[in-house]
């Protein structure tokens, strides 16, 4: 039964399986295991980014396409909710409309970008997606009447999802059962469902063609696959799932702005997560996102201690300064590209004697 659920894509490594189970349990019971607003925020962010990075893995890891426009789709989802909730009022109807429009816009844009990618070389494509994402970012900050500009949009959600709405009078295991809890489990459920869907996609015949294209497009074309169609489809699926992640994030934060969704820093973060976790493995996205978001929030405390301890040594305090956590992740990222092309997941699998992906 587990096999069917995971579409036959088992972890293939005891350590990996253990880690994934731990992550699953931690996220499923986060409100109870880690009480407090901060930890719940981290958990929700982990969920959203697992989905976002998994969708990027479909593009980069499975199809071999490098695109810098992924945050654009993330942002479209966020703004879909944001604009609908702000302009049309916080009702379920407007949320559904907002999500629907966002998903449709993403699909169409992805179609356009996908068609473009067929006519140009990979490097050209990467540069153009960078320009397109940048253009979108400018658009979002310029159309401030619509999008709230640099400040973004703050909005309310339907009553069911508000923290004020209580479903049970007394707390359950010390946790308030309110709209916030419901929102969390909504994010959890959608993330889990879409992640399993992605697993299904990459383990299907369609997914195998994508991998064939990644390995050798020329040969795939020669065998008879119309690689054009497959790559475009991959672009669209990845974009739509990223948009869904954006929708979830917007629901959780009750805020959408250029810095939470469209910034290039987020694009870089996604790259770091997918490579360190493991390209072309899906589970790599889960691992990578968890490690990254947790590090982003808690590693800095650790580094502050280390930096203080190293005071007096030249340069070392600076290197260990909490703000420099990205330096170490960047180094890890580069090392992964050279030595661990399939990231942590690949390494763990090789360690158990299984193939890396």
């Amino acid at each position: 039964m587990l096999r069917t659920l995971l579409s036959g894509d088992l972890p293939r490594s005891r350590v990996l399986a253990a880690a994934l189970i731990a992550i699953l349990v931690a996220l499923a019971f986060a409100p109870f295991l880690f009480p407090g607003t901060r930890s719940l925020n981290v958990a929700a962010k982990v969920l959203v980014f697992i989905l976002l990075v998994a969708s990027y893995d479909l593009l980069l890891g499975y199809t071999g396409i490098v695109s810098f426009a992924h945050t654009m789709f993330f942002g479209i989802g966020g703004y879909g909710i944001g604009i609908a909730a702000s302009k049309l009022g916080p009702t379920w109807g407007s949320l559904v409309l907002g999500s629907g429009v966002a998903l449709a816009v993403s699909a169409v844009l992805a179609l356009g970008i996908g068609l473009l990618s067929l006519r140009v070389r990979a490097i050209f494509f990467a540069m153009i997606t960078l320009a397109v994402a940048s253009f979108f970012q400018i658009l979002a900050s310029q159309l401030s009447g619509f999008t709230g500009g640099e400040d973004g949009l703050n909005y309310k959600l339907p009553d069911l999802l508000l923290p004020g709405t209580r479903f049970l009078e007394a707390p359950l295991f010390g946790v308030e059962v309110n709209g916030r809890l419901l929102t969390y489990y909504l994010v959890f459920a959608v993330t889990a469902a879409l992640f399993l869907l992605l697993l299904r996609v990459v383990n299907s015949p369609f997914g195998r063609v994508l991998q064939a294209i990644r390995e050798n497009e020329f040969r795939a074309e020669a065998i008879g696959y119309r690689t054009a169609g497959y790559r475009t489809a991959a672009n669209c699926i990845a974009a739509v799932v990223a948009t869904a992640a954006g929708v979830l994030y917007a629901l959780w934060l009750r805020y959408t702005g250029p810095d939470t969704t469209l910034s290039f820093a987020i694009m870089i973060d996604i790259l770091l997560m997918v490579v360190i976790g493991g390209m072309g493995t899906m589970y790599g996205a889960a691992l990578g996102a968890t490690i990254f978001v947790v590090a982003q929030n808690y590693l800095q405390d650790l580094m502050k201690l280390a930096s203080g301890a190293a005071a007096g040594v030249p340069l070392l305090p600076n290197l260990l300064h909490p703000d420099r956590w990205l330096l170490w992740l960047g180094v890890l990222f580069v090392l992964c590209v050279y030595y661990f092309p399939y990231g942590i997941v690949g390494r763990l699998r090789l360690g158990s004697g299984a193939p890396a992906r």
Partner: protein, 346 residues
């Protein structure tokens, strides 16, 4: 010797001889620059405003050219897209800033000679440090992944992140203000037009760099090798040249130019921050795409177009300004899908 009759028909069958015997440079893209400037004149309303904007546009274009030219040449010759190019720009700017701050006194004097006494060492330091970083990058970071474009993109992006963080480590996270040299602040007036002195300096430096590159590429054997190599590296090797030994040199030169561009850009903005290289990368990519990957001349024209357009639209239609260069890129690609001056490998 040979049978002239047999070869004469061959010559006659070829397209009409003497008219094509001379060189034919494609003047259209250059004409575009002039056309753009001319079109802007009625739109800006007044002559003096137009003049100010045009100089500003040319200055911006020149600086972008200096920053971008290395990247396009490296890509054309070595088929390597260095996404970390922005780091060379930033490093150059910081290196120069350190020197200019140390020589603050010289910068604040109102004499050109004193200012240059500070600026020239600063520029040299920028070129040297950026060049050294480039050398390190080519040898250690990029060499293992020649030919694999995917890994190149990832590795150079990683390098960019690490460089930016290291800049924070060495120079601190704060924005460092960088005032312009005293004799190049302010503006001179030509009739009713106010033209910033610094911008004139930028135009002069840009033209000098372009002239220098043009001379090397077109009048030296080294330049000949590079131009041929951009078109077809294999053939150059088949003619007996170990062109791969040139790669490091070209990469270092390109990085040094980026450093120089960084200095000019930093003084233009009057501040240095760790993101400045990354911030300008999108514009640089747009410029080299417009110009044609691998073409220095195309990069020059593209940079001027982008600089002029940004300044004109900034005055005439400010809302369009930020997105105007992307629109320009789309238009150019619709006209010439491989850029203004397509070169070899593209």
């Amino acid at each position: 010797m040979t049978a002239p009759a047999a070869s004469a028909p061959a010559a006659a069958a070829a397209p009409a001889a003497p008219a094509l015997a001379g060189r034919r440079i494609d003047w259209i893209p250059l004409a575009l620059v002039v056309a753009l400037a001319a079109a802007a004149l009625p739109l800006t309303g007044s002559g003096p405003t137009w003049l100010t904007l045009t100089v500003a546009g040319l200055a911006m274009g020149m600086m972008i050219f200096i920053m971008a030219s290395g990247l396009t040449l490296v890509f054309g010759l070595m088929d390597v897209m260095n996404f970390a190019h922005g780091a060379f720009i930033t490093v150059g700017a910081y290196a120069a800033a350190s020197i200019l701050i140390a020589l603050k006194g010289s910068m604040q004097e109102a004499s050109v000679a004193a200012n240059l006494a500070a600026m020239v060492p600063a520029a040299l330091a920028a070129i040297a440090l950026a060049g050294a970083l480039g050398w390190f990058f080519e040898r250690v970071v990029i060499r293992p992944v020649y030919g694999d474009h995917l890994k190149q993109i990832l590795v150079t992006m990683g390098g960019l992140i690490v460089c930016e963080q290291l800049i924070h480590v060495v120079w601190g996270p704060d924005i460092i203000p960088l005032p312009r040299p005293a004799s190049f602040t302010g503006a001179i007036t030509l009739g009713d037009a106010a033209i910033e002195r610094y911008r004139l300096l930028a135009v002069a430096v840009g033209l000098a760099v372009f002239a220098g590159m043009w001379l090397v590429l077109n009048r030296t054997r080294l330049g000949l090798l590079i131009r041929a190599g951009v078109e077809n590296t294999e053939m150059v090797e088949s003619l007996g040249y170990r062109i791969r030994r040139l790669f490091v040199g070209v990469f270092v030169a390109g990085s040094g130019l980026a450093g120089l561009g960084g200095v000019m850009w930093a003084m233009y903005q009057e501040s240095v921050n760790a993101q400045m290289g990354m911030q300008v990368m999108v514009v640089i990519f747009i410029v080299i795409i417009i110009g044609g990957l691998g073409s220095v001349g195309g990069c020059f024209v593209g940079a001027l177009l982008v600089g002029l357009l940004a300044n004109y639209t900034g005055y005439v239609a400010p809302k369009l300004a930020l997105g105007s260069n992307i629109l320009l890129m789309v238009l150019v690609l619709l006209w010439r899908p491989r850029g203004l001056y397509p070169v070899g490998k593209g």
